[in-house]
């Protein structure tokens, strides 16, 4: 979805913009002067048409609600080139993370794998389940057969505290 389409009918919401700035714990975002260094190096630009400088501008304009509801914020591959190269420290990556967090708070469409990782962590401490793998000769192996040590799951109290952490905004 092109972001220009999505904002054509929208009205800016400065309260939502303020929310993002609060999440960023800094106001460097407003210093973005659209040099487009972020977009020219963006890994996700080539295949998914992510344009970080547009995200920066849209947030600055106050089109935060539209962005939080959009798929585009989930196309970032987190290579961090935009953070590295931004001359204004307006870090598009961190803006995208803040928008993702807002999308979750608003129960917008969030790729399932993220929520699944959270529930897996609640259950076992790890975001992934232990897998059986095979050698190139197709012999099945697991940690035990490879003589790798068993590392215990978090102790009982962890779950309750992690749940509490997830409620923080």
């Amino acid at each position: 979805m092109g972001l220009t389409d999505l904002m054509s009918m929208a009205k800016p919401n400065l309260e939502s913009r303020e929310k993002i700035l609060r999440k960023l714990r800094g106001r460097e975002l407003i210093n973005c002067f659209q040099c487009i260094k972020c977009t020219s190096g963006c890994t996700a630009l080539k295949l998914l048409e992510l344009k970080p400088h547009e995200i920066e501008k849209l947030v600055n304009f106050g089109f935060v609600d539209e962005l939080a509801a959009s798929d585009i914020i989930w196309t970032c591959v987190t290579c961090l080139k935009c953070v590295q190269r931004c001359p204004q420290k307006a870090s598009p990556y961190h803006v995208i993370v803040a928008l993702r967090n807002l999308a979750v708070e608003r129960e917008a469409k969030v790729p399932e794998a993220f929520m699944k990782a959270v529930s897996q962590i609640l259950e076992t401490g790890l975001a992934e389940a232990y897998q059986k793998v095979t050698t190139r000769k197709m012999e099945a192996c697991d940690r035990e057969s490879l003589k790798l040590p068993k590392i215990p799951a978090p102790k009982e109290g962890f779950q309750a505290v992690f749940l509490k952490a997830l409620e923080e905004r």
Binding site: L80, Q84, K89, I121, L126, A127, A153, L166
Partner: protein, 293 residues
């Protein structure tokens, strides 16, 4: 020189990238680094970052609190993603008093104590800066002369520089220098800083695979003996998923991919099985026969 460090593996290594874990456990002690596992297996918070930034910081802080239980001031984090997530959390706790107070309090509920002074290392800087190239070179008993390799450092241990990273963001050299310490050649190439795409496996798996496939295809074109990685996510994308990645870019990929610690293990003459080399899914046999010849 001998040094004792705590080690945090994260999820990907413990759950599937066993070859990396085996080779780190095997090779580091031979280079004078003793590893002490943490009490528990835990996620660093990386996938949680997109859901709730605070909860991600809490998980990372909990990792540091678990490291604190070992009494050791150094923590080895062999995963790029975990290394970044923990570094960001350290900074958030350091800079934001409210976050710090909340997290310290939550850890206290579990009887854990946050220690801001634990230094976080990756395999690359631990070997390069702490063990030292000289010591690594001295430990080599089977020089890998004649091997031509490409290195893939990955994204999150080199960016962003303000956070204090393992190597230079635009011109990382440490991994190449470690490869050269084994007498192998490490080539420069245009796609060196291209990302493996692994984070997109969570939302756009086809795109993730085509990013990985595109890079493997480019490296294959360099006529090198293999691609060396040092992050479980990159290993997963370039090695375990190489075949799938090939279909997304319409190329037949057969590039040997191995972990830096597996390569070092070969130079230290460690048995291949102990380095988990049977687990690599890419055709590493080509490279191995060249090494043993």
């Amino acid at each position: 020189m001998r040094v004792k460090v705590a080690v945090f593996w994260g999820c990907c290594i413990l759950a599937s990238q066993y070859a990396y874990e085996m080779s780190v456990r095997e090779v580091l002690p031979k280079l004078g680094v003793e590893l002490v596992d943490l009490r528990e297996a835990l996620c660093c918070g990386d996938p949680v970052r997109s859901v709730n930034d605070f909860a991600a910081n809490y998980l990372s802080a909990r990792v540091l609190a678990l490291a604190n239980l070992t009494g050791l001031p150094n923590l080895l984090v062999p995963c790029n993603r975990c290394h970044f997530t923990i570094s960001e959390a350290k900074r958030a706790v350091e800079r934001d008093e409210k976050v710090r107070e909340k997290i310290v309090g939550m850890l206290k509920e579990e009887g854990l104590e946050y220690n801001p002074n634990i230094k976080v290392w990756h395999v690359i800087d631990l070997l390069h800066d702490c063990v030292g190239l000289k010591s690594v070179g001295k430990a080599v008993v089977k020089p890998l002369k004649g091997l031509k390799l490409a290195s893939h450092v990955g994204c999150q241990i080199i960016r962003y520089s303000d956070l204090g990273r393992v190597d230079d963001a635009e011109n990382p050299r440490k991994m190449d220098e470690l490869i050269r310490a084994t007498d192998a050649e490490s080539v420069d190439y245009n796609e060196k800083l291209d990302c493996c795409g692994s984070h997109l496996m969570l939302s756009h798996p086809d795109t993730a695979l085509s990013l990985a496939g595109g890079k493997v295809k480019a490296v294959q074109g360099l006529c090198v003996d293999g691609l060396v990685v040092s992050c479980p996510d990159c290993g997963l994308m370039f090695d375990s998923k190489q075949k799938e990645a090939g279909t997304t870019v319409g190329a037949k990929l057969n590039l040997p991919v191995l972990y830096l610690t597996q390569l070092l293990g070969l130079a230290l003459n460690v048995e291949q099985e102990k380095l988990g080399l049977q687990l690599n899914q890419s055709p590493v046999d080509q490279l191995l026969s060249k090494v043993s010849a």
